[in-house]
């Protein structure tokens, strides 16, 4: 599993397209829900993007941050298990959003916190982590 992280419009998708040949895209930005990714189970390489949307969709139903964090972690573990089973690769694209001012609204604070934890939990499970900055890409892992 590999993780690409960077700010909005940093060039994350382009960085992924440059490195992976014809991957399947599972994107929250075109309305796909996180839990439907197994439909692409036969893919050699599956890109998942829009995690902040997927977190946002679960905030109301799960008021407990720790439980929600664990639920998101289980999704990561399911992807790892799928990779091992299929010999495929999952590529995660995450939005860096933690470097601004603390938002006033509770929902936004929760989203920002959970997105940051997800990034930590994802990085801990990925063989390679990439930081995308103004279209340039740097490996954060050795």
């Amino acid at each position: 599993m590999q993780l690409f992280i960077g700010g909005a419009c940093a060039g994350k998708r382009h960085a992924v397209r440059q490195r992976f040949d014809a991957p399947r895209w599972h994107s929250a930005y075109v309305g796909s829900r996180l839990e439907t990714w197994p439909a692409f189970g036969e893919a050699r390489c599956l890109v998942l993007e829009g995690w902040e949307c997927w977190i946002g969709q679960r905030l109301a139903a799960e008021p407990d941050d720790d439980r929600l964090r664990r639920a998101m972690t289980r999704e990561l573990d399911a992807l790892r298990a799928w990779e091992a089973e299929q010999g495929s690769e999952a590529v995660l694209i995450l939005l860096e959003m933690g470097r601004g001012i603390v938002p006033l609204g509770l929902e936004k604070r929760r989203l920002r916190d959970l997105n940051g934890w997800l990034a930590q939990d994802a990085a801990a499970r990925c063989e390679r982590v990439w930081y995308v900055w103004n279209g340039l890409v740097k490996s954060l892992t050795l």
Binding site: C9, R99, W133, V137
Partner: protein, 182 residues
């Protein structure tokens, strides 16, 4: 030579950029120019900020004032000179909100600026501010600005010979004289 320097607010970008421009001037000869993109204003605080920046740069800079047309400003620089543009965020907002140019024309203007700088042998140091690593904006107009600024940043990072991220006054080299990371 073209350098692109970016980072957060008060990270030390301007100090680093000024030192780099001075170094290039020393290596290359020619004069050092400062491109002021801020419009003059009757606002006392704004004028004080401009004066403070000017004082911090010290003697020996030729100041050019041009809020939008970067290529026109470049044409006033003698070949062999070094031009510092600090900072691109102000230019981006003026282009979007106080001119008839759209995003594509703004990007084309930067492309021409780079081509003309190389053709005229002007060393260019461009400073900007990273504003895209906080909560994504909710307002569509703010998104438009962010997307435009990022387009400009990606183009500059791609084309520049030297790309530096400044954090807490320390510089991280992303790229130097064509040695690009994969």
């Amino acid at each position: 030579m073209i350098a692109f320097i970016s980072g957060g607010a008060r990270s030390g970008k301007s100090t680093h950029a000024e030192a780099l421009a001075r170094r290039w001037q020393t290596e290359r000869g020619g004069a050092c120019y400062y491109l002021a993109t801020a419009r003059r204003s009757d606002d006392g605080e704004w004028q004080a900020r401009i004066d403070r920046h000017r004082q911090a740069r010290g003697e020996g800079w030729i100041t050019l004032e041009e809020p939008i047309d970067l290529v026109a400003a470049l044409e006033r620089v003698e070949p062999g000179g070094t031009l510092l543009l600090d900072c691109l965020t102000l230019w981006a907002s003026q282009l979007l909100y106080f001119s008839d140019f759209d995003e594509a024309q703004g990007v084309a203007m930067i492309e021409r600026l780079l081509v003309e700088a190389r053709r005229r042998d002007v060393a260019l140091v461009i400073v900007s501010n990273d504003v895209n690593e906080g909560m994504p904006p909710e307002d569509a107009e703010v998104w438009r600005y962010l997307a435009f600024l990022q387009r400009a940043h990606r183009l500059l990072a791609q084309e520049a010979d030297e790309v530096i991220q400044v954090m807490a006054g320390l510089s991280q080299v992303w790229k130097r004289r064509g040695e690009e990371r994969s």
